[in-house]
Every structure is written in structure tokens, then in C-alpha cells.
Symmetry: C2
Subunit: 391 residues, 2 copies
């Protein structure tokens, strides 16, 4: 689908007050956030929708940026799209600690005039939501019509209802979980070890050495990618097809002879993963990778309530929820969304839940599936009816 | 369970003839295999059972070695155990390319007097089976009563019936697959990239540099370990418990405060994985890791038959099979064993299949589960009845 919003210009907002963090530290005064907006804020300032990003994304949600890059959720956000910018004022904001414009580890630490590197404070999902709440406030919006996010973005959408329940009405959380499982943490930890043990990491202060821990970033991205795709979709897309079948050297498809190599590419899936790793290592920041995977690890609203998730959701009693999961998502399986649904139902909180039968695994939340987008379109129709008082 | 075989002495067999390999290359003349035997070969030489090992094991199947280490399948093999050494002559053999005694990449390449390193020839499951067949022949055994293996060892057990069907009667293949899926190959490839891109790998010739690519081996092992355990067993064993709860510093269990760190250990699962990686990197050879994961990747008996697994098993029409899988094994799920069962049934080949409801994931094949061992015990009772003519 062609982006119909045209070129969008990112904006920056600076904050003179430090941001207190869950760790007890603070994001130093003078930090900034990059954000984009689409559509028009109505006179009542009641039609704003905040979009929260996951690991590998930022404020550029829809339309084209200055480099002609399409936003990461452009199939969802735009004129006439499920999140219709003719109706809603949509805000995309990059979280602090990220590497897509907002204050992050590659920026200057005012305390010593050098890049933050590994000294950038550890930020949590709750910290991000607090930072977003300040930005929304400064935009003159007392209450969001909705907050939406997928995966780690879904955690932020949930956290809005726990920390600022009166400042948002609808929470739409897609392909997410109430906390990481041991296996989820394990995958994050292996990726982090690959980065941290790369000799070019230099304890997180690689900027000063003029190097980047690319080897570690590549391996981290390859691991991540395996968990984003379903076993079935990987099988359908790559199976056991060998790489040279692509090369036009006369051997065809699955019958091409093996090269018998331990270090070179043999199968197409290897070529695909290496390519994903290479691309990622060209633009993603290693310290950001550590910070964001840790934010995932730490998210666990039930923790402060002795593991009782229903107790955690008590503050959200006046919010309305839509949870969406995908059958083949083994990173954040439907069972994890159902835990959240149960906690909401236990509180008699209004919740709709859609479990979409989709083959694409965790990545499905970014794709244009008709049933999935149908559910979102219907939900935003309802949200808009409330905004216009037409309920 | 205490090893009841006492101390076992490994033996070596040297081979004067080169071993032709699937790749078209050959294992050079003068290679050797390390093996162990348990029990006594009967006069008819009809009670021999070959045990095939998986990635991280060798010839030391049962009893104690000179260092007091228990064999890797000691819970299965010994006097009175399911594979009873009072009845059977059991053979464990280390495959060439491994790092547990048989000719491998750390040994001298006769062509240049230096360690083989990355030049050790690529070996396949079929090559290993051919090497094992020579050893069995030299031991004076025309026909094995059974061959048994789990995981990669199960692939070898299957390959025996395809390459040497007249030289074995029963095939017992546990927690295995007829080929790796794209996802299986993907995990192997990430592990290999971690090793190969470790600056201490030196293209596989690290022996000459007096270093070992430990960083890569650690990451590879951590990735592997995640796939050996089930999501549920990892959750039960570690959950989200934090590491410092172990440290006796006064904070207790799940309520201990977070340290908010991106580089240090926070959760117990991280500590466990790092420990596994550290241990493994102390003794496992990196070139062996590449060779063995490639042998896994290449195994695909259906390939030579246009993907028709039933056609591949035609040579095994006079063999008898037991397939065992474990419900929570997501590395080689029960569905993969059922593919093999179907191919056998399509050939009207005698096959029993046990799908064991066990929580431990892929690792279950090494554990002492009563139902699992019950099935194996009953099967070996039947094999022994045939050996003694008591059928």
C-alpha cells in the first residue's frame, strides 16, 4: 500500500525537568523526545491516539520520512485506514534510550561531555509511559482517546492504564504479554551476551573507540528474528531449500547438490538470517539493544502485587480494553494475552479479545491481515463514536 | 543412580583404509575411533547393541571413566537396567569429527603435520554410520541385535537401517526427526555464526594461535540449551526469580528488588545459561561444533527420493522399529517422529511408537522417566527373546 500521508516531518520536544525513573535514578534535565503527528487535533482535544513502538522502531509510524522511508505501521495509520487520520490525531513518539532520535546512549552525557554509552540510565516500560505522558500533556491533551501498541508497544499501552488511567480511555494491546517468561528472558540474555562479549563492545563505550560491536548485533538480530517468525511460516518461506538455487548457476531448487561446507551458506534460511543481521548491525545501537531488552525483562505489573495480575489492574477499572493475539505467535502466545483478559474480567473491566488465526508468528502484529485490521477498524469506529458523542 | 558397571576403559581402533564420505572426499587412512563396550558378546555374536551419541557426548555411555565421570546414558545401560549388560554386549563409539577421542579437527592432518582445524572433512550422519559399521565388523559382529540413539543419535539409528539394513535387526530412535526444519537449521546457523565471527576463531585454525573461540562457544551453547528445555520446564525451574535471591544477602525470593542492570545478571535463568555456556566452552571444540551441527542440517534421507520419506525407508523393510517422542520437545516435536512412523507404515514395516507425556522438552531422552524407560525395557526384553531364540 502506498503511504497516503505524504512526507512527514519529525518534531522534537525538550524537557527542562529531570524524569524520575523506576530504578531510583533520573533521566537528566534537558533530555528530548522525537515525535510525529498525523491528522488534526479537534477543538475539544479529544481525538488523540498515541502509538507506542516496539524494539526496532521509533516515532516514524506512518507516511514517508525525509529519506523516503515508509513508517513502520503505515498499513494501519492514514486517511481511510483502520486508525483513520481523517478522524484521529495520531502521535508517534520515540522512547528515551532508543536510537531513533530521542535522548539515548549515543548522545552526550551532560555530566562529562562524552557519549552516555553504558552509563545511560536503565529505563523501564513505566518510565517510557511517564515520558510519553509529559509529551502528551505539553501537546495540550488531557486525555487520550486511545493508546495502541504491539509487543513491547502493547506493554506500554497496558502500563498507561496502570499509571495514568484517567488520562486515557481505550487501551489496545496487540501480541503482548503481562511479563516475559523464563524462555523469553533467556533469548534476550543470549542476544545481550553476544553483544557484550564482542571485543568491539568495550563495556558499552565503543563510541569513543570509533567501532561498533557489529558481530554481536548480527547474532542478536538473528536470534530475535527466529523468535519473531512462526516455525510454520519459516518452513513455508524457506524450508530446506538451498541457497545456490537462487544463484542461477544451472542447479535447480531442492535438487541442487550440497556444497558440504561448515562456514559458508548452504541453506536459504541461513542467507536470510545473515542478511537480516547485517542490515540491523548497520543502523541499530548496541547499548539501545541492551536497554530495550531489559525494559522487556523488567515489565511485570503483577510483581508489586505478589504476582496477582488482577490486583495490578485495579487502577484501570474505568478503561476499556482490546487485546489481540495471533495463534502462531510463540514469543507472546495467545495464552499470555488470555492472562491479561482474565485479570481484567476479574476486575469487571470492559475487555474485548480477538485471537487471530494467522500463520506469521509474532510479526503478524505488523502485517496487514484482513481479520486483524477488521477488528482494529471496528474498535476505532467505536472510539470515534465516543469522541463525537455519537454513542 | 550409582553406576554399577564400575570403571570402564576406553579402547581405540585404527583404520588403514580411508573412509569415503558423502561429500566425495574421504577420511584419510590412519584415522581412529574410540569406543567402549559393556557386557559380554555371546558365542553366536548375536547380542550386540550399538549406542549412537548426540552432539555433546562420546563413547563413554555407561559406568565410570578414569576421571570418575559417569557415562551419559548410564541410567539406561548397565546390569539390570533397561538395556541390560547382563544380557547384551553394548558398544558406545565416538564419531569422527567429534572432540571426545576419535579422529577430529584437533588431531594432526597427515598431509601437512598440523592440526586439521577447519580442513577436517565435512562428515554426515551416513558417514558416521559407515564408520561405525566398519568398527562393528572388526569386532566380529555380522549383525547388531539393535541400534539405539536419541536426537542426532536417533538419526544414526535410522541411517543404519537405510545403509546397512541386513546388519541390524531393531532400530530404536528417540526424540529425533527425519530432517531438520528451517527453524532447526536457523538455530544451528546462529550458533555457528557466533563461533565463526569470534575473533579467536581464526577461520577454524585457532589451535595454531593458542586460543579458543570461547565467546562464540558460550553463546552457541546458550542458544542450544534454550532449545533443549521446554518453555514449561524452564518456567517451573527458573520462572522470573532473580539471581540475588540465591546470594544470601538478606533479600528473599521474588520480592528482592531489581538491580536495574543491562550487563550484569538479574534473573536466575541468566545465571544458569551463563554457567552452561562457561562450562561448555572449557571442553568443547569449536570446529566439532560446526561439523556436528552441519551433520544435523544435512540429514535428510528423503532428499534422494524427491522428498518421499516412505521411498527412502524401502531398504528397511525387514527391520523393526521403535520410535519414541516427548510431548514437550519443541526441537524435535512428536509430529516429526510421526512422519517417520507414517513412512514406515506406508512400507508395512513393523513399528511401535510411544509418545511420552513428559515435561522436560528435548532433554527428556537423557532422563530417567518411568514410562519412557518402561517402553525401552519392554522392547529390549523382546529383542533379547529373539536373541535367545525364545520367541
Amino acid at each position: 500500500m502506498t503511504p497516503s500521508l505524504g512526507t512527514v516531518t519529525p518534531q522534537q520536544m525538550h524537557f527542562a525537568e529531570p524524569l524520575p525513573l523506576a530504578s531510583g535514578a533520573a533521566l537528566a534535565a534537558g533530555y528530548h523526545l522525537v515525535y510525529e503527528t498525523y491528522g488534526t487535533l479537534n477543538a475539544a482535544r479529544s481525538n488523540a491516539v498515541l502509538v507506542c513502538h516496539a524494539l526496532n522502531a521509533g516515532a516514524h509510524v506512518a507516511g514517508l520520512d525525509a529519506n523516503g522511508q515508509t513508517g513502520w505501521w503505515d498499513n494501519l495509520v492514514g486517511p481511510g485506514k483502520p486508525l483513520d487520520t481523517n478522524r484521529f490525531f495520531v502521535i508517534g513518539v520515540n522512547n528515551p534510550g532508543s536510537c531513533f532520535g530521542s535522548s539515548g546512549p549515543m548522545h552526550i552525557n551532560p555530566a562529562n561531555g562524552r557519549a552516555w554509552g553504558a552509563d545511560f540510565p536503565v529505563v523501564t516500560v513505566e518510565d517510557w509511559v511517564d515520558a510519553q505522558a509529559r509529551l502528551v500533556q505539553r501537546l495540550g491533551i488531557e486525555r487520550l482517546a486511545a493508546v495502541i501498541g504491539g509487543s513491547l508497544g502493547g506493554m506500554q499501552a497496558l502500563a498507561w492504564t496502570l499509571r495514568h488511567p484517567a488520562r486515557v480511555q481505550h487501551c489496545i494491546a496487540v501480541a503482548t504479554a503481562p511479563s516475559l517468561s523464563a524462555q523469553n528472558i533467556a533469548f534476550n540474555e543470549v542476544a545481550r551476551r553476544a553483544i557484550i562479549t564482542d571485543p568491539d563492545f568495550h563495556g558499552g563505550h565503543y563510541y569513543a573507540h570509533g567501532v561498533v560491536p557489529r558481530r554481536g548485533l548480527r547474532v542478536a538480530r538473528m536470534i530475535g528474528h527466529i523468535t519473531y517468525l512462526s516455525d510454520d511460516s519459516m518452513e513455508a518461506k524457506f524450508g530446506r531449500r538451498i541457497r545456490r538455487a537462487l544463484g542461477g548457476d544451472g542447479v535447480s531448487g531442492d535438487d541442487a547438490p550440497f556444497a558440504y561446507t561448515t562456514q559458508d551458506i548452504e541453506f536459504q534460511i541461513e542467507s536470510y538470517l545473515r542478511h537480516q543481521g547485517d542490515k540491523f548491525s548497520e543502523y541499530f545501537d548496541a547499548n539501545t539493544y541492551l536497554l530495550i531488552t531489559r525494559a522487556l525483562d523488567y515489565f511485570d505489573p503483577a510483581r508489586a502485587h505478589g504476582g496477582n495480575l488482577a490486583a495490578a489492574f485495579e487502577p484501570a477499572r474505568d478503561n476499556r480494553f482490546l487485546l489481540v493475539s495471533f495463534t502462531t505467535d510463540w514469543r507472546f502466545a495467545p495464552a499470555r494475552s488470555r492472562e491479561i483478559v482474565k485479570a481484567l474480567v476479574d476486575n469487571r473491566i470492559a475487555v474485548s479479545y480477538a485471537e487471530i488465526d494467522a500463520p506469521h508468528g509474532h510479526d503478524a502484529f505488523l502485517l496487514d491481515d484482513a481479520r486483524y485490521h477488521g477488528v482494529l477498524r471496528a474498535t476505532f469506529e467505536r472510539v470515534f463514536a465516543e469522541v463525537t458523542g455519537d454513542v
